[in-house]
C-alpha cells in the first residue's frame, strides 16, 4: 500500500472481489468519484456484484458513492456480509 503518494488511492478487496481481482489491495490513480472507481474496476476484473449490492468505506468508515476519490485515502468495497 502506497499511502504516502499524494495522487493515488489504495483500494482494498474482500471475499469474491478479492478472488476476482487476484490481489488484496492495489494503488490506483485518484480520480472521479467512488461510483466511477467501482464501475471501472468491475469492467477490468469482471466483478459479479452490481454496485447496488455493495457498500463503500473510506479510511475505515462507511462513505457515499458520490464522494470524490481522495488522493492518499484507503477505499474498501464491501460486498454483502455473511458473518455470524
Amino acid at each position: 500500500m502506497d499511502r504516502a503518494a499524494t495522487d493515488t488511492v489504495t483500494v482494498l478487496y474482500f471475499a469474491s472481489l478479492r478472488d476476482a481481482a487476484g490481489v488484496a489491495s492495489e494503488s490506483l490513480p485518484a480520480q472521479g468519484d467512488l461510483r466511477a472507481l467501482y464501475t471501472a474496476l468491475r469492467g477490468r476484473y469482471g466483478f459479479a456484484l452490481p454496485i447496488e449490492r455493495l457498500r463503500v468505506a473510506v479510511d475505515g468508515a462507511f462513505a457515499r458513492w458520490d464522494d470524490p476519490v481522495r488522493a492518499g485515502s484507503e477505499v474498501a468495497f464491501i460486498p454483502p456480509v455473511s458473518g455470524g
Partner: protein, 154 residues
C-alpha cells in the same frame, strides 16, 4: 480485554473482538457476572455440517478488521443504549474453522431476562447484517464459495 481510546481521549472498554484462533467462553462470561445482574443471555454460532441442504466440510471467515472492529463496537454501544442491560460482549472468529467450531459468541447481562434476551438477539442480528465479515464455505462436492446473501446491504 484491552481498551481503546475515543476521539475525546476517553478510555473505552473493548466490547467487540475478532479472534484469529479458538477462544474460551468461560472468562468472557465471567467478565459479565455482576451482583446487579439477575439474568444472562448468551448466543453461540457454530459451524454446521450443512447449509441449504449442501454438505459443508469447513469454512473460513475473512474480515475487514478495522471497520469490523469499529462497527462491532457501535452495535454493542447501541445495545447498551437501547436495552436495560448491565453489560454486553461479542467475539467473532476469523480464519479457518472446522465443523463444530465456535464462530461467534454473544453474552449479555441484565437485571431482568426480557432485556437480556432482546439485547442478545439484537447484537447477533446486527453483527450478521452489518459487520464486514465474509464466510467462505468448502462443500462436500469439492466446490467452494463466498456467501454474499441477497438481502444485503440493508
Amino acid at each position: 480485554m484491552e481498551t481503546t481510546t475515543d476521539a475525546a481521549g476517553d478510555h473505552l472498554v473493548q466490547r467487540f473482538r475478532l479472534a484469529e484462533a479458538p477462544f474460551e467462553i468461560a472468562p468472557l462470561r465471567a467478565a459479565l457476572l455482576d451482583a446487579r445482574a439477575g439474568a444472562y443471555a448468551g448466543f453461540e454460532g457454530w459451524v454446521r455440517d450443512h447449509n441449504d441442504g449442501r454438505g459443508v466440510h469447513g469454512l473460513r471467515y475473512q474480515a475487514y478488521a478495522a471497520l469490523a472492529q469499529a462497527e462491532g463496537e457501535r452495535i454493542l454501544a447501541e445495545a447498551l443504549e437501547r436495552f436495560a442491560i448491565v453489560n454486553a460482549r461479542c467475539v467473532h472468529r476469523v480464519g479457518e474453522l472446522a465443523i463444530g467450531e465456535l464462530a461467534v459468541w454473544v453474552g449479555v447481562s441484565a437485571a431482568h431476562r426480557e432485556a437480556a434476551f432482546a439485547a442478545c438477539r439484537f447484537v447477533i442480528d446486527e453483527v450478521k447484517a452489518r459487520v464486514p465479515i465474509w464466510k467462505h464455505e468448502r462443500y462436500a462436492d469439492g466446490a467452494a464459495d463466498w456467501l454474499h446473501p441477497d438481502d444485503q446491504p440493508r
